[in-house]
Amino acid sequence: MSNREQNPPLITVSKLRKHYGEVKAVNDISLEISQGQVITLVGANGAGKTTFLNLLTGLIRPDRGEISLLGEKINGVAADQRAKRGIVKTFQLEHVFGEMTVFDNIRTACVSAAGMHYSMFKDIQNAREINEWTDDLLKLFDLTSVKYTFVKNLGHGYKKVIDIAMCFAMKPRILLVDEPTSGVGEEEKYRTMGLLMDQIEANHLAAIIVEHDLNLVKELSKETIVMCDGEFIARGTPDQVFSQEKVIEILVGKGF
């Protein structure tokens, strides 16, 4: 490997903008993230956090600005292709395949990651590599006990973990985590985050984690960005950031 300094950062965002009419959801944001860098993103509701993540994954298109992955511009790349290149997002709300078993949920992601979209004539039961890989992921995320349960019958915490496990099947480079603990009970919250952080660390991934629980934010990362009205207004270690007056005002003032 060549000198680390010469490598382009994993993700470069420059002057990214998305307005919805009068609402400046994301307003000229620039950011660089390198491999292994974990950033937490906080801000009141409607600050544009989710929009920002969706711009990165390609679910929505920016009005202006540029997104690059390892120095290559990816503005025109569709969401599914970005996922394949390693920009993977977990969802805030429940986004799992309820009518399928846990095993099939994870297996779908594995099949997709393996590029077997158009494999029509091969019985999937005989795709040994895929099935073994799925089993490995189930073990990794402690889901083996519910392997054959339909996901719709599982609790919210499980669904979050399944969502995360599917993301890991994609072999991400950067994980965009949108409020992984919203609606999850206190105890499960720490379990879910623990699983997630262990995997991020083990794979040396970059991550942007949107989180409302400030105590959790302090534990999760060394770097926090505060977002307000589509702009980054503060950046630094959690302790630094949360001691700034304007940050307190925003977070407390808006009923955070």
């Binding site: 994954t57 679910l59 569709a78 969401a79 599914d80 292709q81 996922a83 394949k84 993977v88 997002k89 969802f91 986004h95 799992v96 395949f97 309820g98 009518e99 399928m100 078993t101 095993f103 099939d104 949920n105 297996r107 779908t108 992601a109 099949v111 997709s112 990651a113 077997m116 979209h117 158009y118 494999s119 029509m120 004539f121 091969k122 019985d123 999937i124 039961q125 795709a127 895929i130 392997k147 054959y148 349960t149 339909f150 969502d163 599917m166 993301c167 099947a169 994609m170």
Partner: protein, 341 residues
């Protein structure tokens, strides 16, 4: 391991299912010798309806979309045959015409799929109907080419490798094609392709976010359904030696949806049972209570939907078999006890 909930859709059939399938095929092979020519054409119609119904089943089972547009491809397949083996008498060779019908319906389905699969649910269904209406009126109006409402009759009998096929030989050819297409569809239903289609139906956003090319896969699924109907249409034209614009009618396309409902969408046997049921229901009603056709088919479907829903007739049959099995087992147990005491 709990087998029942573990696998992708078609639960892996035990040997019993294979035996049943072989038995049914064997019956279809020998039955022409025991029934009249007219009854044979009924069976032949059922065999040909099965692939088109499978297309509807496929789209509903995996993508949860209701496809009223199968008649587009039935019509296209039919008119390809009517032009080349009837009106313009180019060729009647099945080995040329059937692949041609297949390829053209695949191309048309893919192009239409670009527009139709852009929407889901209610709008998908309506788009299907809208497109059939366009096709229907085009064919209806283009009198000079298509014969308008008269359709095209006097389609020559087909030949296979230049050997002319009689009615019975055509029956066997239809049987072969139908069984072949069912086998292909079963394979596709068990593939990773289908697994991903189910994911798309489950949560489109999530599917996209794990790298599934959602639009292209929906289009392909639509194309597969259309290809099935194209083959159905081509062989139906040869079976009746006649096509008319009514092949494009969306009401005709709805027949396949009705067949799928009758058979049930929870089992791969559904489309087969459904096509069989619909054709024979149609035959019996039109023979004995010709005026009551709409009422009876409407009521039948209403009753099925209200009582067994997605399980359809296949579900009823399964339940009945389950009961019998259960009863037999109990009887066995009670006789066992009797012997012991």
């Amino acid at each position: 391991m709990n087998r029942e909930v573990s696998m992708t859709i078609p639960s892996r059939g035990g040997r019993a299912k294979w035996i049943a399938a072989l038995l049914l095929t064997a019956i279809a092979v020998i039955i022409p010798f025991f029934i009249s020519g007219y009854q044979r054409t009924l069976i032949q119609k059922f065999l040909l309806w099965t692939p088109a119904t499978f297309g509807v089943y496929f789209l509903y089972r995996l993508l949860r979309q209701v496809h009223f547009g199968q008649s587009i491809f039935i019509g296209i397949g039919g008119y390809i045959i009517a032009f080349s083996a009837g009106k313009y008498a180019i060729t009647n060779e099945l080995m040329i015409l059937l692949p041609a019908a297949l390829v053209i319906s695949i191309v048309v389905a893919y192009v239409l799929g670009i527009f139709i699969t852009k929407r889901t649910g209610f709008y998908f269904a309506v788009m299907g109907i809208a497109v059939t209406m366009v096709f229907w009126s085009l064919v209806y109006k283009a009198r000079g080419i298509t014969g308008g409402s008269d359709g095209i009759s006097h389609i020559n009998n087909p030949s296979l490798f230049t050997i002319p096929l009689g009615d019975l030989a055509l029956y066997y050819f239809c049987l072969l094609v139908s069984v072949g297409m069912i086998v292909v569809m079963l394979r596709i239903l068990n593939s990773s392709f289908s697994l991903q289609l189910r994911a798309i139906a489950g949560d489109l956003e999530k599917a996209e976010s794990i790298g599934i090319p959602v639009n292209r896969m929906q289009r392909l699924a639509f194309t597969i359904a259309g290809a099935n109907a194209g083959v159905t249409g081509a062989l139906l034209a040869f079976s009746y030696n006649y096509v008319s614009p009514s092949a494009f009618d969306w009401g005709y396309g709805a027949n396949f949806v009705q067949s799928a409902i009758i058979g049930g969408v929870n089992s791969v046997a559904g489309p087969i049972v459904g096509a069989f049921g619909f054709i024979h229901l149609e035959f019996f009603i039109s023979t004995w209570f010709a005026d009551l056709w709409e009422i009876i088919i409407g009521l039948t479907i209403a009753i099925i939907v209200l009582t067994v829903g997605e399980d359809g007739v296949t579900g009823i049959v399964k339940a009945v078999f389950g009961r019998i099995k259960c009863k037999l087992r109990k009887q066995q147990e009670s006789t066992d006890k009797h012997v012991k005491s």
